[in-house]
């Protein structure tokens, strides 16, 4: 039972497929302005509340950083407080251990059906496949997750798992799964489709023996899980079944409820532009004798899966991430390709950093390069993660470990050697600019450039007058 297999090595090939997928491109084209407009609205509401994004994000980053500075302490406190409220706390080294623990729990508690609220950690673990193999039926109840489960696909976005799907595709999936004829749908039909899913899911909520959720935060002082959701499915998953399993990363712990309050000012605003999500659930312990709702048993599975290894490294700031999705929502590369091109659980800029760190530098060679360095991601990150700098750091690691192609390394070595010898560089570039000029057509443009074919595949190359600046400047000074 391994975790989710990474396909990140196929980024280049997948990028080509995704660019050629007109349906996907249409979905992405429609989605991006909606995402950015939502965050803009969220930022406007911050300002209207007299709050400053810069100050707030410094506070949020400091909270998250302080946790990482003493992660073991906060985790031990969380474990003690959670146990004091009757919960069980289990630890998993990797995705395989997560699946094993959940399957064991399912066996021990004679579980046949599981309802799931969104959990990216369960994606890291490929938990659904493990449950199915063990004869347990997992039902995704987040609408987007339900759609991608029907399509037998992984989510393509961390907060909008089905953003790559069109309404027509969703209708076809529902028609086939729910045994009805396909219909022509418009965006005004979205509520009807949601209602259809809800009607299918309701009996599942009631029948499930186990509910599995993630957690946006773990609160050390109270031993609670904080769940930020919009659809209400999270509450049904975490309170109706007799057994509730929370699967989350060890870095999700924060010290106090007050810290949660600070982070919640930024999380929904950064993600969906909401001042506050429709539901904020604070789940603590099990159902006590005088309570009518809640699970008889609560189990936390706290997962490392490579995270602890980042502590103290230059990549530690990545662990501050609160999974809002703003970085991908503002990424020109993400919105050219969608999330599946990235090949593992996390797409966009945070995925380009996290995937190589968690699955292996040599397992995702392209991802740290899948960025123009524009820093539109870093600018919107609510916990101030320097995403382009971290991607650059990963490139440096690739160079150290000699993971780059030989041709690329030699090209840079030769260029660097010349650039450090200005006289020779000047002499050779005299030839280069003449060659470029000679290649150009009457309008000063190269249409096909054999030296750099990638450039002229989709663009002309406008070139200069056949003389370099320094050459012309020297001639002018002589006159």
């Amino acid at each position: 039972m391994a975790g989710m297999r990474s396909q990140a090595m196929h980024f280049q090939a997948r990028a080509g497929q995704k660019l050629a997928d007109e349906v996907l491109q249409g979905a992405l084209r429609r989605a991006q302005p909606l995402f950015t407009a939502k965050r803009q609205k969220g930022m406007a509401s911050l300002a209207a509340d007299g709050l400053d994004f810069g100050h707030l994000r410094a506070a949020a980053a400091a909270i998250r950083q302080a946790v990482l500075d003493d992660l073991d302490v906060w985790l031990e406190l969380f474990e003690a407080r959670a146990k004091a409220r009757g919960a069980e706390v289990l630890w998993a080294r990797d995705g395989a251990e997560v699946s094993q623990l959940v399957v064991d729990l399912a066996r021990r508690h004679a579980v046949r059906t599981v309802t799931k609220s969104k959990s990216m950690l369960s994606e890291e673990a490929a938990l659904n496949a493990a449950l199915l193999a063990a004869g347990v039926r997992p039902v995704e109840t987040d609408l987007g997750e339900y759609i991608v489960q029907l399509a037998d696909e992984p989510p393509s976005h961390i907060i909008a798992p089905a953003v790559h799907k069109t309404i027509a595709q969703v209708d076809a999936l529902f028609a086939d799964a729910h045994g009805r004829p396909r219909q022509t749908r418009h965006s005004s039909d979205i509520p009807a489709l949601a209602r259809e899913a809800r009607e299918i899911l309701r009996p599942q909520f009631l029948a499930a023996d186990m509910g599995i959720s993630g957690a946006n935060f773990l609160v050390a002082e109270t031993g609670s899980a904080v769940l930020v959701t919009n659809e209400g499915n999270g509450r049904l998953v975490t309170t109706l079944p007799r057994l509730h399993v929370v699967i989350t990363g060890i870095e999700k712990v924060v010290p106090t409820l007050e810290d949660v309050a600070t982070l919640l000012r930024l999380l929904p605003r950064s993600a969906t532009g909401q001042d506050i999500s429709n539901y904020v659930s604070l789940l603590t312990g099990t159902k006590s004798a005088d309570e009518s709702d809640g699970p008889d048993q609560t189990v936390f599975i706290l997962v490392d899966n490579g995270r602890a290894g980042l502590l103290g490294s230059e990549f530690e700031p990545m662990l501050r991430c609160i999974r809002c999705g703003a970085c991908m929502n503002h990424c020109p590369v993400y919105f050219s390709l969608g999330g599946h091109a990235y090949g593992w659980v996390y797409p966009g800029p945070m995925g380009s950093v996290l995937t190589p760190l968690l699955t292996g530098l040599d397992q995702a060679l392209d991802l740290p390069w899948a960025s123009t360095g524009c820093n539109q991601c870093g600018e919107v990150c609510p916990v101030d993660i320097p995403l382009p700098a971290l991607m650059r750091g990963l490139r440096e690691r690739q160079q150290h470990q000699q993971l780059r192609p030989r041709g690329e390394r030699w090209a840079r070595r030769v260029w660097g050697w010349l650039a450090l010898r200005p006289r020779l560089y000047r002499w050779l570039t005299r030839g280069l600019v003449r060659y470029l000029h000679w290649l150009a057509d009457g309008q000063g443009r190269i249409r096909i450039f054999g030296l750099v074919p990638g450039w002229t595949a989709g663009r002309d190359l406008p070139v200069g007058p056949g003389r370099s600046f320094h050459e012309l400047y020297a001639a002018r000074k002589r006159d």
């Binding site: 280049q12 990028a15 080509g16 660019l19 020109p332 590369v333 050219s336 390709l337 390069w369 899948a370 960025s371 123009t372 360095g373 524009c374 820093n375 539109q376 870093g378 600018e379 650059r392 750091g393 990963l394 490139r395 440096e396 690691r397 690739q398 160079q399 840079r412 070595r413 660097g416 010349l418 650039a419 450090l420 200005p422 560089y425 570039t429 280069l432 600019v433 470029l436 309008q443 443009r445 750099v452 990638g454 450039w455 002229t456 595949a457 989709g458 663009r459 002309d460 190359l461 406008p462 070139v463 200069g464 007058p465 003389r467 370099s468 600046f469 320094h470 012309l472 400047y473």
Partner: protein, 243 residues
């Protein structure tokens, strides 16, 4: 005051006119303007490719060439940002270079932001009959906070009208080696920029970074747009012939 113009490798090879336009504009400040000899590349490409030793060697070379000037002006947000932000960090462990790198970084200015402060008030030499739109390049905007300076300068050009296009702050998709390594993705991103330029119906798109401009112009022409001019800010402000 002695001003050094750091021409940048791209302007040197691909569009010398930007360098000469920058010289003419800097001369208007009344200061002595010099092009320090021996310039090749600031080393930003090596740095972003993760080649720290080469980036440091090129940084030392440039610092040595630029140390004896009061101001170093760079007609590129990207190269200026690299000198200002990366040089001090890159050479911080080298006792012989640390202070020099900090000095050069502290005196380095991107062209537009420097001109906006240093030029005497009044109209600029350029003439432009028509409407232009301005593309904010990423490193200038998000790295150095350059937003208003180029616009203020453009409005001082006779006859020029400035009209903002949609998403003027969105990346054009160039990204240095990204434009070649992921050429198709880069082309898809610049297509959005080209569409915004086209929708603005301006006669020219102006920017402060030649990399972005080559990318935008290259794609506009390939899309069949033969008329929209793609100009560096210095060319518009200085007017006249490029060389």
């Amino acid at each position: 005051m002695r001003i050094a113009l750091y021409v940048t490798c791209l302007v040197d090879l691909m569009r010398p006119a930007i360098g000469f336009a920058s010289l003419r504009l800097l001369a208007l400040t009344g200061a002595e303007v010099v092009v320090p000899p021996g310039q090749t590349c600031c080393g930003q490409p090596a740095w972003s490719e993760g080649d720290r030793p080469l980036a440091a060697a090129l940084a030392r070379q440039a610092v040595g060439q630029l140390l004896n000037y009061d101001v170093i002006v760079v007609p590129s947000g990207s190269c200026a940002e690299h000198i200002v932000h990366t040089y001090p960090q890159l050479l911080s462990d080298e006792a012989g270079w640390r202070d020099a790198a900090q000095q050069v970084a502290g005196r380095t200015r991107e062209l537009a932001s420097f001109l906006a402060e240093a030029l005497p008030p009044g109209p600029l030499p350029g003439h432009f009959a028509g409407t232009v739109t301005y593309h904010d390049s990423c490193k200038g905007l998000r790295g150095l906070g350059i937003k208003q300076a180029p616009r203020d300068l453009l409005l001082r050009v006779n006859g020029l009208n400035l009209q903002e296009m949609a998403d003027c702050e969105a990346c054009c998709g160039f990204g240095g080696s990204f434009s070649v390594r992921f050429a198709e993705v880069s082309t898809r991103i610049v297509d959005r920029k080209c569409a915004a330029v086209a929708a603005s119906a301006c006669g020219a798109v102006v920017g402060g970074d030649l990399g972005c401009l080559l990318n935008i112009e290259g794609r506009l022409r390939r899309r069949g747009d033969e008329t929209t001019r793609v100009l560096h800010l210095a060319e518009v402000l200085a007017g006249g012939s490029g060389d």
